[in-house]
């Protein structure tokens, strides 16, 4: 008897602790209506990865159109209708690249023409305005209904919904990949599709977590939101997000923000403003993996005026361009999502400026980090210089392969500006003798020139000099300072 009492006395606190832990691990999800919902349908929210801009679709004007809200001091400002995407009977369901400079949207009877019914279109942002959409083409768009695109964080994978023939029934989910010059033939996500409808796919910033809505049996009623995670090349078993995200009403268009506990979705549940409304869920019960992001402003190094520049992210190991973005023409802001465990070259390029490159290393295991990096581009003028992101083995002047994308860019720059003459300047850190460092820096500058000449640049336009350790960028002896001082620069000497 005494033993049983002891066992019970021990079990009770364990049970209580387990209950407390369970409650701690599963926080209560709360949902709040978006403040600018209307009596009409408001759906397909899309937030730029920096969380500064919210796009959504509404038929408050009698037609489906895309609206945009900007954030100020944590509050959404009143929405503005985007009117520059071209004329169409219905326009909506935008998806954006993380930098917010490219949009893929759906439109019915768009003036740019269609392959049948509702199609997907792409628009680029320029000078603060969205351009008229262009049809994504017959590879992605079918003669059936194609809508509700969702771009991966590198902008190279597109998920969308379609009721084209060949699916499992109703509306199904498809995936197409950017092949460098065209989109691939869409492949159905057979592991997720059912004979019922699957709609509003949304790939999270980690590029692994996919949210979608389906009216398959077993839900709470109407459309419910499901989450599936990428395992290799296939998605795992989808999970219902449960209440209060899902209700007996229709719950769709779920999006997650990077490194945030906030999610947005649309629902026609009661308690809203009428029709479909946009809701905010906190915390997101099925958060994607944290990601590393980098943001900043591209500016004129002289005037500090923001510049809309192309930003190229290159994986230095594979020498593959993993993403090409553009900073905002008005604000110069850019935003990219990076994958942990890789070393990137981040290059900003504008035809009127010297390009700028920097190496960014994202350690394996890095999660939820937001890097800030402002980029100053120097105008093409005499004595302006840019550091070339080139790599040499220790104590050698042989170019390593990861230097080649940068030197290809330098060659392109020199081809585009035939009036420009440059001097390649080699620098070393303070380790070693003066004479040795001088010789090494000269040989390294020569190696760069040799490569550029091999790419068709007239050798008379390129001079070289080795400065050794005489012109350090940072006067310090720390490893970081030495890394900055070991460099090759390209300086404009005539224009």
């Amino acid at each position: 008897m005494k033993r049983w009492i002891l066992v019970l006395a021990a079990a009770l606190p364990i049970a209580v602790m387990a209950q407390i832990q369970q409650r701690t691990l599963r926080p209560t999800v709360e949902v709040f209506p978006f403040e600018y919902n209307s009596a009409a349908d408001d759906f397909c929210p899309a937030v730029t990865h920096n969380g500064a801009t919210l796009y959504f679709t509404s038929d408050r004007s009698g037609e489906q159109r895309i609206y945009v809200c900007r954030s100020r001091a944590g509050q959404w400002l009143s929405p503005d209708r985007i009117r520059t995407l071209g004329d169409a009977k219905q326009i909506g369901c935008p998806t954006l690249t993380p930098d917010g400079q490219t949009m893929i949207f759906a439109a019915y009877q768009h003036e740019a023409g269609s392959n049948g019914r509702t199609d997907l279109y792409m628009s680029k942002r320029s000078e603060g305005y969205w351009g008229k959409g262009t049809n994504l083409g017959a590879t992605v768009n079918s003669s059936a209904w194609d809508s509700q695109g969702s771009l991966s964080s590198d902008g190279r994978t597109l998920y969308f919904a379609s009721d084209r023939p060949g699916g499992k029934g109703g509306t199904d989910l498809y995936r197409s990949r950017w092949l460098g010059d065209r989109w691939s033939e869409p492949e159905p996500l057979v592991e997720l599709n059912t004979e019922y409808d699957e709609i509003t796919p949304s790939i999270a910033p980690d590029d692994k977590t996919l949210y979608f809505a389906s009216n398959r049996p077993g839900g709470n009623g109407g459309y419910d939101i499901y989450v599936a995670r990428l395992q290799g090349n296939r998605f795992g078993q989808p999970q219902n997000l449960g209440q209060p995200i899902n209700t007996a009403a229709n719950d769709i268009s779920y999006i997650a923000l990077p490194n945030s506990t906030t999610a947005y979705f649309a629902s026609d549940r009661s308690g809203g403003s009428g029709g479909y409304d946009i809701w905010r869920a906190v915390p997101n019960p099925e958060m994607p993996e944290p990601v590393v992001t980098m943001h900043g402003i591209v500016r004129n190094s002289t005037t500090q005026i923001p510049i809309g520049a192309d930003i190229i992210i290159t994986d230095l190991k594979t020498r593959q361009k993993v993403a090409t973005f553009r900073s905002d023409d008005e604000t110069g802001e850019y935003y990219v999502t990076l994958t942990a465990g890789r070393t990137y070259a981040v290059t900003a390029y504008h035809p009127d400026y010297l390009f700028y490159s920097e190496q960014i290393e994202v350690p394996t295991g890095e999660r939820g980090r937001d890097l800030e990096k402002n980029i100053d581009l120097a105008p093409i003028a005499k004595e302006n210089a840019t550091r070339l992101l080139v790599f040499f083995d220790f104590d050698k002047a042989d170019l390593k392969e990861e230097s080649l994308p940068e030197l290809d860019l330098a060659a392109t720059f020199l081809r585009e500006h035939p009036e420009v003459k440059v001097r390649i300047e080699g620098h070393t850190d303070d380790v070693g003798t003066d004479d040795y460092n001088l010789q090494l820096s000269r040989r390294r500058a020569e190696a760069v020139k040799k490569y550029l000449v091999s790419k068709g640049i007239d050798e008379k336009r390129i001079t070289t000099v080795g400065y050794g350790k005489s012109q350090p960028k940072v006067k310090d002896t720390t490893p970081e300072a030495r890394a900055q001082n070991r460099r090759v620069e390209m300086k404009i000497v005539a224009k």
Binding site: A39, D41, F43, C44, T57, D59, Q64, K89, Q90, I91, G92, C93, F105, A106, A107, Y108, R117, T118, A144, W145, S147, Q148, D163, T171, I199, A249, N250, I252, D268, R269, S270, G271, G272, S273, G274, G275, Y276
Partner: protein, 284 residues
């Protein structure tokens, strides 16, 4: 032939009008209105205009005080009857669930009361022999009102709603019909000249001033919306109407006999109603 052709044309126009175009959310367009998502107001937008047609089932009651010998009035304590009503209403949605309505209408209250008594009847006439004879007395009253009211609407389910409000009734006119019928024996009624006129006599007329000119009611109702299209909703509604003031003043003089004095009196004359309304609401 022409009629059939016009019907076909009308049906075709209706089909085209109701067919929904696809959009970026729905490949087959909007679903049928009956299975559509909740709307903000009764129809879709915040403003809606409604026309309601229905009937008022009135419940009349009064207290009858008998001072002298029994009369059939003793039995006239209650009655009921059905009258038509018509409303024109406007609804404005304050929130998704809550709205306010204003309505103008024409409401006819009708009720019938009946009673009987055994009256001595000389049978045969002039025989000096009186036998009790049952006489049925029926009074049918119709009072028409112009009405105006406001109500709060609360939608507690997607299509279910309750309304609570008040209505002002302004009396328009009133009429009555009284009928006496001899239901047993061989007696008849006689006119003033002494000629028999049969076993049934009836009198009709206007008695507008007999009823209060203004009445207030508290209205509670429950309604169910059935969308017919994106902009039209059919909304049947069942309402209870409790009046706060009497139908008419106390009647202490109608039962006065020159010899016997006060025979009976009517007091606490009340009328409440149950209404069934069939409404068509249009999005504004």
């Amino acid at each position: 032939m022409l009629k059939r052709f016009l019907l076909c044309v009308f049906a075709a126009i209706l089909v085209v009008a109701l067919r929904a175009d696809e959009d970026v959310l729905r490949p087959k367009g909007r679903p049928e209105p009956s299975s559509g998502p909740p709307t903000q107001g009764i129809v879709r937008g915040p403003w809606a205009l409604g026309v309601e047609l229905g009937g008022s089932l009135s419940f009349f009651g009064q207290d009858v005080t008998q001072y002298q010998a029994p009369t059939y009035q003793t039995n006239l304590t209650s009655g009921s009857g059905l009258g038509p009503l018509l409303n024109l209403a406007v609804d404005y949605a304050l929130t998704d669930a809550l709205g306010i309505q204003a309505r103008l209408g024409y409401d006819q209250k009708h009720f019938t009361t009946s009673g009987y008594m055994d009256s001595p009847c000389e049978t045969p006439p002039g025989s000096g022999l009186f036998i009790p004879t049952r006489v049925e007395h029926t009074t049918s009253q119709t009072i028409a009102y112009w009405t105006g009211g406001v109500a709060f609407r609360y939608r507690f389910e997607e299509n279910w709603m309750i309304l609570a409000g008040a209505t002002y009734h302004s009396r328009s006119n009133a009429s009555f019909t009284e009928t006496d019928s001899i239901t047993g024996g061989t007696c008849q009624f006689y006119d003033d000249a002494g000629f028999p006129i049969g076993r049934r006599r009836q009198e009709s007329g206007s008695n507008t001033s007999a009823f209060n000119a203004a009445r207030w009611s508290v209205d509670l109702s429950v309604g169910y919306r059935i969308p017919l299209s994106e902009n039209i909703v059919f909304l049947p509604r069942l309402a209870g109407q409790i009046f706060l003031n009497p139908l008419a003043g106390d009647n202490l003089s109608s039962g006065y006999h020159p010899v016997l004095g006060q025979v009976y009196a009517f007091t606490n004359r009340r009328l409440h109603a149950l209404q069934l309304l069939l409404g068509l609401w249009f999005n504004l």
